[in-house]
């Protein structure tokens, strides 16, 4: 359960959902008009959704490459506590 609560995984999960939802809405309808009806000129959702997906992948990669180090687990309650690496 410790690794499940790596903060980097939580952040990756959030931006994965944000990225997928925003990118898909950019693909199905070009979002070059703001929610209030002002012209923007670029497909905002597509251009912001893709960087969010990339960020999610990078965060997950970081957590995967440098997982929680055993010595970083908080000493107060070893069987329950959680911490990330580095």
């Amino acid at each position: 359960m410790n690794k499940l609560f790596d903060l980097r995984i939580v952040i990756a999960l959030l931006f994965l959902v944000f990225g997928v939802v925003v990118t898909v809405s950019g693909l199905v309808a070009t979002s070059s008009v703001s929610a209030s009806g002002d012209p923007v000129g670029v497909n905002v959702n597509l251009w912001t959704g893709i960087p969010m997906l990339i960020f999610a992948v990078l965060m997950a990669l970081w957590a995967f490459i440098r997982p929680v180090a055993p010595e970083d687990v908080a000493p107060t309650a070893p069987e329950e506590s959680t911490t990330e690496a580095k």
Binding site: M1, L4, F5, L7, V10, I11, L13, L14, F15, V17, F18, V21, V22, S25, G26, S31, S32, V33, S34, A35, S36, G37, D38, V40, G41, V42, V44, N45, W47, T48, G49, M52, F55, A69, E71, D72, A74, P75, T76, A77, E80, S81, T82, T83, E84, A85, K86
Partner: protein
Amino acid sequence: MQALADGSLRLNAGPIDYVLIAVYFILVLGIGVLARRSVSSSLDFFLSGRSLPAWVTGLAFISANLGAVEIFGMVANGAQYGVPTIHYYWIGAIPAMVFLGLVMMPFYYGAKVRSVPEFMLRRFGPFAHLVNAISFALAQVLIAGVNLYALATVINLLLGWPLWLAIVLGAVIVLAYTTLGGMRAAVYNEVMQFFVIVAMLVPLTFIGLHRVGGWSGLISKIHATTGNSVAAQTHAWPATGLTGISSPVLSVIGLVFGLGFVLSFGYWTTNFAEVQRALSAKSMSAARRTPLIGAYPKTFIVLVIFIPGMIAAVISPQLAAYKASGGTLSNGVTYNNAIELLIGQLLPNGMLGVAIAGLVAAFMAGMAANVSSFNTVWTYDIWQRYIKKDRPDEHYLRVGRNATIAASLIAILTAFIAASLGNSNIMDYLQTLFGFFNAPLFATFILGMFWKRMSAAAGAWGLISGTVAAVVVDSLNRTGVLNLSGQGGSFISAAAAFVVDVLISIIITMFTAPRPEADLKGLVWSLTSRDGLKKIESAADAGWYRKPAVLGGGVLVIALVLNIIFW
């Protein structure tokens, strides 16, 4: 917030936006539930068991400050004053954060104190401690109410929800994750919130710049709306518009001494809501690196704060008209609406949900920082010290959880009082007032850390007289005796607080006995061994690039270069 009623700032949030906001809050609460499993002692609850890595505490350190009041206020400054807004970061925050990491953190972390008032107690005894602990606890719980009220007005403005619903919902969510997971949940959520805020601000900057034709397009459009005063908007120095001090030389002195030295050093180095994040770090090295690591994103984030502000004042017709009139036009918007106007003009459904989540997250992080620092000071510094000593640790853990609930209820009450008064000026004033506690606190700390002769009575009376001096100068300015139009008034009152505090402390020390040196070990520079700073505690602290001096020097150089670029 005058435009509450007419709905002109309403954003057309769609189902997709609500889905994204909901996803965010499920994760916020999920962090609270997961963090609960690591809370088995009061130290876990209040300082996360001193176990967090430096990148987490570093981001939480700036995130606790990057609340909504900060974002709205600084985007508004960008819209009103332009480039000089950077002074709050490159002159204000950065040197103070470096000073905290290099000079002051060894005392805080090394003395193993659990709060800033506790350091006060060990250096100056109970009188100064009580003054500091009570004023801090009171300020935090009332500011939590201010944050909650501000959150509710923005939700009301953007989404049309009733104020009472927004107040209660916001408080319940913050209460849920801070009582469950304690400091760890607060810190983790602050880190996540930092990234969501960046995900809101960076697209606003780039899309906004695209709209106005890049930086040069922005400058020429600002020229069109402000005419001859364009240089004051597009150059950082001497910032006479920002300070309201007409002499350039005095304006620079006001900035460097008032804002840069007293106000910012006071805020960043003695405000427990900030320092608490560093005290949660897992080693001395990580604690010292906390403000230093935080300083790097802090240096760059101002770019995506003041530029959107400047863009908002150009592309929003209402705000441009307001600015052209010199802030006298009453058309339902003010500079404080800059970020909402920009979001409404630039973001489609989808990104709109991310932006609203970011704004709401910012309010909650501000309130959570207030609540989590309040419950620590209340439990350790007031309850354990003066009311119920020597109870088992579970007792204090329970007191901490109850204090969190009580603080949230008081915050709700404060927010409702503010809502019934129907204007935010009183709340602004309260906030300024509490800001006055920091400047003299810094003077007292810095004297106390480097001057072992300074007596206990000097600590308390310096603090009180400095606070009074700040209030007096501020009142003189508000009643028009000093008459500074910009934000120079707060710089001057902070400077006055500092000078008065130092003078009174010196005078009182001359007539009172110093504390015995044996009591001051680890609390005063000349009586503290420096060996602990050199020792490397684990592999995670090794490497030249993790040396505090290197990290601190690096960020100062970057801030200097940026200052030259925006000269």
